[in-house]
Symmetry: C2
Subunit: 299 residues, 2 copies
């Protein structure tokens, strides 16, 4: 079914009848398609429409990543050269705008509730990116601000995807929205954990890059609260700095010994349980598997 999503996106791209757009699309690296998977699993009784909706959401997600990579001056995306690295920032910004507008054009064919839910999520997503930039200016130990940011930046589009797919399927869309929201929050926190516990090879980029870039993710917020005055100062002194091997080992050791990482994992499990509880009555083993695969992985 994910293959059908790729074919459908390609059809949408071809509709635009522009050689450059075709060329850019060929170089777009394809991801795990979490959002598409979610939509296809929730609206499996409306398979054809689900494929189109999944294509739209993946185009929106791709557009947001194109703009992200320009903003971060990123050279690679999912192991391939990024569009901005290959064709320049101008092309990447415009290709993002083209994907967004084609996605909105196709979204018009869906019920108003779905079109509004997805377009509202795109506004939240962009505001979330702004918040991320803002929060990265100084060390942030405010948990509420962190959650507001990751909800908007990551969870809102996953929430809207689940809501919209449930609406298509004719099941309780608010319950599925809650599933999607908690899945999205857990997904982002796991990403934040992986930046700390994984090695460079697994990540495909240098580990502990978040803290260097000014991102005080949840593990750092928890860690900061648990440290004594001297260690707090040491952690703060590393903020936005190039970390050497000893710095990284110190942070990793403190993340373990302080219990900060454990607290993150507990929260991820809690979010996963809440996600599953909200759709318990539907006994959808595929949706349970999405949560379990994400959480019970090797770290």
């Amino acid at each position: 079914m994910l293959n059908k999503v790729d074919i459908n996106i390609e059809k949408f791209i071809n509709d635009l009848k522009d050689d450059r757009v075709d060329e850019f699309y060929k170089h777009l690296s394809s991801g795990k398609k979490l959002r598409a998977k979610l939509i296809l699993k929730i609206a499996d009784n409306k398979a054809d429409k689900a494929v189109v909706l999944a294509s739209i959401v993946e185009m929106i997600h791709a557009a947001s990543l194109l703009h992200d990579d320009v903003i971060d001056d990123a050279n690679t995306r999912r192991g391939k050269k990024s569009i901005n690295a290959l064709f320049g920032d101008k092309s990447a910004i415009m290709f993002g705008d083209i994907l967004y507008s084609k996605a909105f054009f196709e979204l018009c064919n869906f019920p108003l509730q779905i079109a509004k839910s997805i377009s509202e999520a795109v506004a939240k997503l962009s505001i979330g990116e702004l918040l991320d930039v803002e929060l990265s200016k100084s060390f942030n130990d405010n948990i509420e601000k962190y959650f507001d940011m990751i909800y908007k930046k990551t969870a809102s589009l996953i929430e809207a995807s689940a809501y919209s797919a449930a609406f298509l399927a004719g099941v309780d869309s608010d319950k599925f929205a809650l599933y999607g929201k908690n899945l999205g929050l857990a997904f982002q926190i796991i990403d934040d954990i992986l930046d700390i516990v994984s090695d460079d090879k697994t990540l495909g980029k240098p580990s502990m890059n978040d803290y260097k870039e000014g991102k005080t993710t949840l593990p750092y917020i928890y860690l900061y609260k648990k440290l004594d005055k001297d260690d707090k100062d040491r952690l703060l002194s590393m903020f936005k700095q190039e970390l050497n091997h000893d710095d990284k080992e110190w942070i990793r050791a403190k993340m373990q010994s302080s219990g900060a990482l454990k607290e993150c994992f507990e929260l991820v499990h809690k979010l996963g349980s809440e996600a599953l509880n909200s759709i318990e009555e539907y006994k959808n083993s595929d949706l349970e598997k999405i949560i379990k695969d994400m959480i019970d992985r090797e770290y």
Copy 2:
């Protein structure tokens, strides 16, 4: 009525409940609002809805200019500091995405034909920007390519605005679309002429900037066709170069003596007449005035 559009846009911005977005909006320079004026004049029998549609289209136009300014690394916009100059490229790209997505969200409340027409125009507009970048790589004397580019980059959103307003008003939307398309093409060609004939002060930027930036606009395409071999070579040698006073005077003199400018003006008048012919039966003096004010100005 244009004042109501500003108030409505501010309401849409406030809906987003984000302090940074409010701050960016305060620094957004406000333009002539050609597209809003057009919508208000065409759908004057549906004033309330026309104000909302005009707000949506002006937000889309503002979003495209935000991304344009990042792409061109522009420091000013309409005499004020640009958002990218004030707050950085990241903020300008995201603020553009936020305006686009809020505009699409509000567009969902309009009939399908309108939502599709406007979102299709946004895809064209972004493809037009890509074509503009592509054409600027080398001297272009292909008139078809020039018209395809300015249709997409400039005329398509004006065309969609006129179409949508006519649809709202319950008049023949195809006729008004043709009015809008020809108005948009004439508008862009006049802009291209002004770059050549105006002085720096009137333009608010250095004159003859287009050719320096690699843009072979219509006056240059016509001029090239009319020059002899030596003059063709001289014109080509100036492409993408910093032009000195003598170069500029030579181009201006040749534009006059060759009849290239005259040919541009004739085309602008022809497009203006075609625009007016397509909506003749409606005897809308406001729409006639928009065309006449635009064409019969001082150059």
